[in-house]
Structure formats: structure tokens, C-alpha cells
Symmetry: D3
Subunit: 237 residues, 6 copies
């Protein structure tokens, strides 16, 4: 029995609210249960130096967590003077995942920066971030289209992410914090709507796992991502 | 005529929503028009080293702004590796203001950290932060009382803050960004409900101002703060 | 009775010694009693990036304190790797105050950097810094005039600063450290010679203060600044 | 055809040389072809603060690359003042992987720090690091046993790692830099000798991949890790 | 002919003014011509962690330069966030030199921090710093004696420092900036009053030098240091 | 008797192995007994900003030590976020020493960066670094010549370095760690093959030393450097 009484393959209540920050070209407040992330997409006419003049654009991501998004207050990274390893890992993952969804040539020599700021954390902040970021990105691209800044299709696919894990011996979908902190194995899947894999990260928290266990998690993830992509399509319709 | 068509002594629409972050001992989402700040109050059983063993508590504040809270994206301080001078100034002001409202002896040897994170900025983020922080602080103290952690009254007074400025030659209350960026003179007042001053900061943005002009701003501020304190009382009632 | 036996409206002995650093375009060793600040003004043919090409110059300030300027040694900021919040606040105040005294268009596309380094601190380092900085700035501008670098008048007004506070229930002028650490209320005024206000910062150290108290401080400040401006005029004559 | 003319399931020449640094409790110079990593294991009688008094030890890892380990010189992190995101990601992976191989209770309240420094990089530095780190760790534990510092078995399993990828449409094992920079998909597997998974990370560099492709990579990885574990056993015998 | 018209073995005008900072246990404003350094000695009842409980004290030094001590303004290290390599080198030299002059056991478990801040720089700031630091240190020890904090003699010898160099083919003593920037060879000598060497650093700025040249510099240095030690004795008498 | 049983004027076993890093334009693994340093020379078509357009090149050096190169593990500088004072001092010494050996005009507007990374430290890491760096530099210049990048001779002289010290009252050559930590006096000499001095640094670790003692050390150093230069010539032949 899961602490939340959900079925093993049941997502938490998911919501994707668009247009939540008035200045941003795209924005989304994504909720996976009690995990709430505010995502904005910012379009800028500049590129990282190493990319200039190559006829391609870039998508980059930054991730942060408000100090009291968590049960115990965590130190503000701006005050500590550096981002933690966890933050760096997550923002690199978000950036890579979104770039796979985008035709960077079609974007032109522009950069979109996706900021994912966790207002409240109850497990799965990176997967909620990616899922919401796709919506903010889609809105940013819609904004560009309405100004005739792009001509061909830029978005190649829907991208969403979900965590799975083995909790009390059972593979379960979309771990909340109570499950995550107890799970034997924990995996994050970033996938397209049609079930192809963009990124997969699986970690044995306690003991190594078998290929069969991993395949069970992947099957759950495919199911969860399909549902999330449906919700993305509803949100941007 | 003000860009927002408000009367010179008219506040923006103000809202103070409590209990917005489930983990925090106190929290408040404060809105002054399009300026939105998420405030949390965190109680901890530790003190800065220089205060230990003196039988007194401490209130400290941190301030941050999400990168796309502003018209143009501003660089994330955690990624830049340091807080800007503006951030440091504001969080010191918030901390000082709140400490004046609190009986630190009655608080006991504990620290309350107030985090003010700007989700959207349209002028007056520091005054909104202080006004909302008082509500989060009041809730945190209520939380402590309900657990018998404090015996005597800790909160000595309501504290709220408002900006005033001379815009197009006229003293006006609660400047939004459009006014703030054009104002000749800009002042922030932190006051108690009964009109006493906790902190006043007045700056001539272009040309020095006279005492008479300053007194006109102070009169407006007193009016604005009285209204904000009424709203605080409604919110915590 | 004040610890220094001064009358409530009496400044400490003030001296403004010019030309104390042979390389600087302007310099001043300012003393307010035992508070000693070495100020230099440096002219450079460069501007902050955001100001380039606008036909205007810039004045910026930096502030520092030698480690043993104080009763107890304070950590060297260069070794700590960052400036404290207090330092940042003060140098921003000095810069803003001086810019109001200057016609930035008449200055041309150049930057003057004012460095205020406290050799010995006995209260009022920021007000002594501003008062001495005006003298160093005036000398720097004289240096430019003698080389025909500027044509019209650049200095618009004398600028000086003084602190006031309520000590033992009495409003007093120019607090030294013994008073400052005990004062109920503490305010810094930056004013022009004719009594107009450039910046005012008032803080209730213990209990909120009334408008009447604040006006008493402002009256004292006006008197003190008038005297400081007389001394500035003598110094640069 | 692979640039190195290897068969798709062929590892590069692998060597594991022990005892290469005279001071370290364990050390290994690991070579995967032209990728050379110097690993040391350091035993210390101290623990991270959050782990003290729990009767358990800790394994942590740090990773670095000499500036000219790469084709173009990369900036020295010590001089840049911070570790890159890539470095942080890799050292966290190494630490997690090794901890799974160790019985931390049996280790006692001690920390082993594994330093992996890349002398020359030709792809696969993280997988070579993990594979060599296991050898250095095993030697460190042998050192402890010979001093009667531990009583029960501390090492639970052999751990090795290998990369796989889809290069020119074919799944291949142990990518060198020429392949890695061109691969469509890139995955790193950390496994035990009996084929169970400790960590898996797969990334679509260009287009999303299918589950079938992923399974092909995993099959290759299992084969490669089995061979690496044989070499580890030979090395420590 | 030297730019300053001094004889090859002639020091600049040297002055050693004591008691210049009212809070410090010892202080000295040292001038070697236009090079002016303010030195303070601070006594503290604490030690670096690695020295605790060994029955010995410690002398450490910090060095800084006001931004406009130089012909062109140099960036403030506190604002740059780190000390330059030159600063680090100099403060380590000052600390080592002074420690040789002191009986650290006789000092007891206390630390004296010597701060050397250059107000104006015209070559030889490190040698002026060391020479003045000895005076500040001697005053600090006198202060301790007058409070019966030490019983036996702590100061073992006078220590002074001077630079020499080969300028236009001639060995000269006490280089000013005009000479220093042109010298072929440049050496700094830290010596005791009786001509023994504490530290010697010689650098070929352009072409390597011979042993004979080096010995000529050392002879000059011995002469200069003897004169500086005479001045130290006069100063502390 | 020296701990290593060497004669007072006897070097440790020295080896200079070239071509050890396949990407670098020049490289050398230098061993002075158990002190092992990996040196690479990197040629780049860029210059420090202050040197641009002057028709001259530049040689710069960086130095690092692997964390477990030492008996006790030392903290990784990249993780600490800054280089220690010792590191900064050493890399500045290496850079200065090599520049004296090079005709910077003949090099053209290019920079060679010499990285010296200590794999194992047993005293004398800076002198081994300089001696090996000369070999890597020579190979880098040979590489340039073979591509017709330089026309005239760039290398002006062989440069090598050695430490000497007074150990148990006897002047000895090439101190290992056991001697270095006990020596009364310690000096490092950087010299050319014909016995001229590039840099000399002598430090009294405990008591000041005499000129006669210093000359004895210099005589030993000349002997040692002559031998090292012979080995350099053999290595590059």
C-alpha cells in the first residue's frame, strides 16, 4: 500500500496552468500533487559565445528551489555563493531534455532560457519541471510564431518526464517524498509522447536491481508519460 | 494623471493570502497589484553564534527575485555566485523592520528566518515584502503559541511598509514600476499601525527635495500604512 | 550629557585635508573627531557597459575599512572573499549622493571612482566619507578644468552628510561610536548647502519614533550640514 | 566500421595497475585505451557532520581532469574557482556507485575518499574511473584488514562501468572520443559482476531512442562489465 | 645617475611614526620616500586550529593596497572577491620574516596579526612593510609587558628589509618605482641588525645575473638594513 | 648522515621522460626520486589582454598537486574554490623562470601555458617542475619549428632548478621531504647551464643564516644545476 493510497500505476493530481507570469514569453505553474514548480521561458537575441554564427539556436535551463519549499529550510544558494551539485545536475538534465524536443536550426540564432523554480517540493521536482517546461516552451514558440519570427515547425515532439521506483518491493509510478526517501530503486524517465526515450537515469539506492525490475519501471513510465502528454495537449489547446 | 489612473493617495489592489506553503510555520502570498511576493517564516532552534546564551531570539530575512519576475530576465544570483548590492540592502531592511515589531526576549533563544521571494515585480517589492512578512511572522508566532512555546506576547505592533514618490510634480502613494522609473523622488516608509516610524529612506533620484515635499510624502505614507495594517488585521483574524 | 561633553548641536572637530595622495586626481583626508577617512577620486576614460554611448559620465564609489580601524579587529574583506552587506550599502549611498551633485552630461563620457577607506572609525564613517568625497571630487574636477577637459560647470551643489540620533532622550548631532551604540534612533542625512535633501535614512534601533522626533533630527542635520559646507568651501578655496 | 576498427562488442585495451602512489592506502592507474585515470583511495578517521555517531562509514569521490588531458587545453578548475557541472555530476556518480558496493556498517565510522584524476582523456573517463576506483578501494580495504581495523567483509560485490552507444546506427561498446562525439545515443552502465544494475544513464544526443535500442545497449554493457570484473579479479589476486 | 639623484648606497628618507591608530596594540606609519604603509599589530587570544594546545603563539600578516595607492587605480581586492597572487606572496613573506624575530614559545598561546596597508606606493612596499611591522610588533609586545602578559624576552632580534637592484648596470640600494620598473635584476633582503639573513629573494627581470653581482647587492643590503635597524631603535627608544 | 644516505652534493635519481601526453605540444614526466611531476606545454594563439599587439609572446605556468600526492590527503583546490598561497607562489616562480629562458619576441604573438601537476610529492616539487618544464617547453618549440611557425632561435638557455639546505649543520643538495621538514635553512635556486642565476629564494626556517652559509648553498646548487642541465640535454637530444 502506497502512503498516498494511490494505485501502483497512478499519477498524482497533475495540473498545468499557463500564463502565470505576465512578462514571460511562456510560463507554466505545474503541480504534481504537492510538488509545485513555476516555470518561465525567456526568449533572448543572444547566444552562448561558442554557438555564435552557426545558424542554430539554443535552449538552456536553470533550476532553483525556494528555501522553504522543503520540510526543513534549505540554505539559499544565492547566499551560499554556489549552486549545489544536485541543482547543477537537474538543470543540465532539463536543458538536454528540452533540446531534443526542438529543431535548433528552425529556432534561428536565439536562446530560450527556461527557469524552473520549485515553490513547494514533495518529490519529483525534476520530472514536474520538465513536464511543465515543455508547456512554457510551447507557449514561447507560439509567441514567436504570432510575431512571424519563425517559419517552420520548431517543436518536434512532446516531452514529459516521470519518476518510478521500487517501493516495498512493488514498482510504482510518480513517487512522492514519502516513497522516494524509502525506495530501493529510483529512476527518472524523460520520454516523448510516442514512448521513445530521451533520457533515462536509474539508481540503486540500496541494492543493485535486475534488468527485469528495470523493464517494469520503464513500462510504468511509458504509461505515465503518455498520460502527461495528454494533459500537455489539453493545456496548450 | 497616474499611468494606472489611480488617485494620488490610492493603493493598488492588495491581497494577503495565508498558508500558501504547507511546510512553513507561517507563510503569505502578498500582492500589491502586479507585484507578487511569496513569504515564508521558518522557526529554528538555533541562533547566530554572536547571540548565543543571551536569552534572546532573532529575526532575520532573506530576499530573492525569480529571474523572470521582471520585464527583462535578470541573472539568477545563485548562478552568478553572489547576491547583488540591491538584494543585500533590501534583506537587511526587512530584517531590521521586523525585529522592531518583536519582543526578542519573549521569543526565547530561537531564530525566525523570513524568506521573501518575488514571483512577479511591478515596483514596491520591498514594501510588499515587509507587509506580507508581518503576516507570515504573525502566523509563525500563532503556531508557537498553539504549542505552548511562548508565554507572553511576542508581537509588539503591526508593521507595514509603503513607497511614496513625487511623480510629475505630484506626491503619490504606492508607486508601480511605470511611476517608479520616472519619479523625481522616491521614499520608502516602514511604520507601525499608529503612525510611528520604524524606518524611512528617501532618495532624490534627480534633484534634491525640500522638507515640505518630504512631509507630504510622509503624510501619504501614514495613510497607506494605516490601510495596510487594517488589511493585515483582517487577514490574521 | 554627551560622553564627549559636546552640546547637542555640536559637531566634532572636523578637518578636510586636500592633496594627500600624490597620484590621485583629487584626494582628501577627512576627520570627524577620531573618525578618519582617506578619500581619493580617480578619473578614467571608461564607463560601465550599460552607459556607453549616451553622452553622459558616471560617478561610482567604493568603501572599505582597514581591519584595525575598529576597536576589535574586523576580518579583511579581500581575504574573506566578499564585501559585507554593510559595505555594499554604504558605497551605494556614497555613489548616489555624489551623482546628485554632478551634471553627468557636462562630465562627458568619463567615470570618476571615489574610494573611501576608513583608517580609524569612531562612528559616522559614511557621513565623513560623503563630506570628504565631495572635496576630492571637487579637486578632480578642478584638475579636469585646468586641462580643458570640461567646459561648463559640472558641480551643481555642495553635498555633505551628517548623522543625528536620539541619545538618552535628547536629539544630538554627529554621533560618535559611544553614542551610536546606545542611541534609540539613528538617522543619516545627505543634504545640499541650502538645506535640500538628497538622501535621508532613519532607523528605529529600539522603538519606533514619531514624526516630531524625526523633524527635530532633521533640523539638527540642516544646521550641521550648513557648517560642513562652510568648511568644504574653506578647504577648496 | 568503428574508427578504431574494433568489433562492436570489443573493449579497448584495459589495464589496471595497482600501488602507483606510495602514500595512498589504495591506488590504481586505470587505462581504457588512451583514457588514463589515476585513482587513489584515502582512509580517514572522520565523517561528514551529518553522519556522525550513526555507526556507519562513508565513501565519497572527487574527480578532476588535468588541463591538458584533452585535445584542447581546458581551464584548470582550481584557477576558475569552481568545479564545472560536468565534474560535479561525475563525482557524484562515482561516489554513489561505490557506496552500493560497500557495507557501510562494516566499514565503521570512517571515510574513504576516492580521487579520480584524468591524466589523458579519450572518452569514457567516468567509466574508467569507476572501474579503477573499485580496485583502489579493494586495496584500501585490504590495507585495513591487514591492520585488523575491520572484521567482517566490507566489499559486497565487484563494481565496474562501461559506456555504450549507437554509432552509425550500430550499438557499440566502450566508445572512444571519436565515437562519443558522433554517437546518436550514449549510455553509461554501472553494474555488478553478476549483471545487476547499480546505475544506468542513457541520453539521446540527437533523436530519442527506442526501448529495443536501449536493451541492445544494456546487453553489450553486461558483456563488457563481465570482462572488466574478470580483469579486476586478476588485478587484485 | 639615479632618477632621484641619490647615491647608489643611499636610502630614501625613512620615517617610522608610532601610535598612529588609537585602537591597535601597536601601530606604525612607515615611509620610505613616497612609499607610505600603515601597519597595525593586533593581539588576540586565539590561534589557528592546527596550533592549538602546543604552548606556542603565532604571528601572521595581511597586506593590502588602497586602490589609488598607485599611479593607475588598481581594482579593490574586496570587490574582485580574491587577493592577487602578488598580495598573497607578500603577506606570506612578511609573516615568515616576523616569526623568525620572535620567540613563539615565550609569546604564549596568542596570535598577533600584523596588517600592512599601503596608502601610497612608490616601490619597495614589501620592504617598508616589514621594517615598519617590526616597530608595530615591538609596541604590541611592550603593551603586553606593561600588563604582565609575558615574562621573558619575546623579541629575539631587530628585523628590517630592503630592496636592491642593478639599475643601468650599477648596483643600487632601495629602488623606487622609476628604478624598479627598469632594473635588470631585483632582490629583496630581510635581515637582522647584525647582518644575518632571514630571507633573500633575487629575480633576474631580464637576463640572468652572476654570483658576483648578487654579492654586490647583498653588501648594499647589509648596509641599508643596518641603517634601518638604527632608525627602528631610535623609534622605539 | 642524510636519511637517504646520499652524499651532501648528491642528487636523487632524476629522470625526464618526454612525450607522455599524446595531445600536448610538449610534455615531460619528471622524477626527482619519489617526487613525480607531469608537465605539459600548450601552445595557443591568444595572449593576455595587456600584451596584445606588442609583437611579443608569453609563457605562463600553472601548478597543482593531486590530493593524495602527499602523505596526508590535502584538500582539492578546485573543490575549495581557490588556490592556496603556496600554489600561487610556486606557479608565479615557474612562469618567471621560464620566461627568462625564452626570447619572447622570437616566439611571436602566442602563449605557451605550462601545467605542472604533482602526482607524488617528496620534497622539491617546484624545482622538479621547473627542470621538467624546460624539457616540455623545448619540445613545444621543436613542434613549432617543424611547422615553420618560428624562424629564429627562441630558447636562449637551459634552465633548471634545485633546492639546497642546511640539514643537521651540513649544507646538502636536493632535499627530500624528510630533510626539508627538518632543515634549518632552505633555498631554491633557478639557474642557467653556465651557472648564472635566474631566481634565488632563501629562507631561514628557524634561525637567521650567514652569508658564508648562503654561499655554500649556492655552490652546491651550481653543481646540481649543471648536472640537471646535462640530463636535459640528453633528454632532448
Amino acid at each position: 500500500m502506497r502512503p498516498s493510497r494511490r494505485a501502483p500505476d497512478e499519477l498524482r493530481a497533475v495540473s498545468l496552468e499557463r500564463g502565470v507570469v505576465k512578462y514571460a514569453e511562456g510560463s507554466c505553474l505545474v503541480k504534481f500533487g504537492d510538488t509545485h514548480v513555476l516555470v518561465t521561458a525567456t526568449l533572448e537575441d543572444r547566444l552562448p559565445p561558442w554557438l555564435k554564427g552557426q545558424g542554430r539556436g539554443w535552449i538552456t535551463a536553470e533550476y532553483g528551489m525556494l528555501p522553504r519549499a522543503t520540510l526543513e529550510r534549505t540554505r539559499r544558494e544565492a547566499s551560499a555563493g554556489k549552486q549545489t551539485g544536485r541543482t547543477v545536475e537537474i538543470q543540465r538534465l532539463i536543458g538536454r531534455s528540452l533540446r531534443t524536443a526542438i529543431d535548433l536550426e528552425a529556432l534561428g540564432e536565439r536562446q530560450i532560457t527556461v527557469d524552473c523554480d520549485v515553490l513547494q517540493a514533495d518529490g519529483g521536482t525534476r520530472t514536474a519541471s520538465i513536464t511543465g517546461a515543455w508547456v512554457a516552451l510551447a507557449d514561447c514558440i507560439k509567441w514567436m510564431k504570432s510575431r512571424n519570427m519563425i517559419k517552420t515547425e520548431v517543436l518536434r515532439a512532446n516531452v514529459a518526464a516521470i519518476s518510478c521506483g521500487i517501493y516495498n518491493g512493488t514498482p510504482v509510478l510518480d513517487l512522492d517524498y514519502a516513497e522516494d526517501s524509502e525506495a530501493e530503486t529510483d529512476a527518472n524517465f524523460v520520454m516523448t509522447g510516442d514512448g521513445r526515450i530521451i533520457e533515462v537515469q536509474g539508481t540503486a539506492e540500496k541494492t543493485p536491481f535486475t534488468e527485469a525490475e528495470f523493464l517494469a519501471l520503464m513500462a510504468l513510465a511509458r504509461k505515465g508519460v503518455a498520460r502527461l502528454v495528454d494533459l500537455q495537449k489539453l493545456a496548450v489547446a
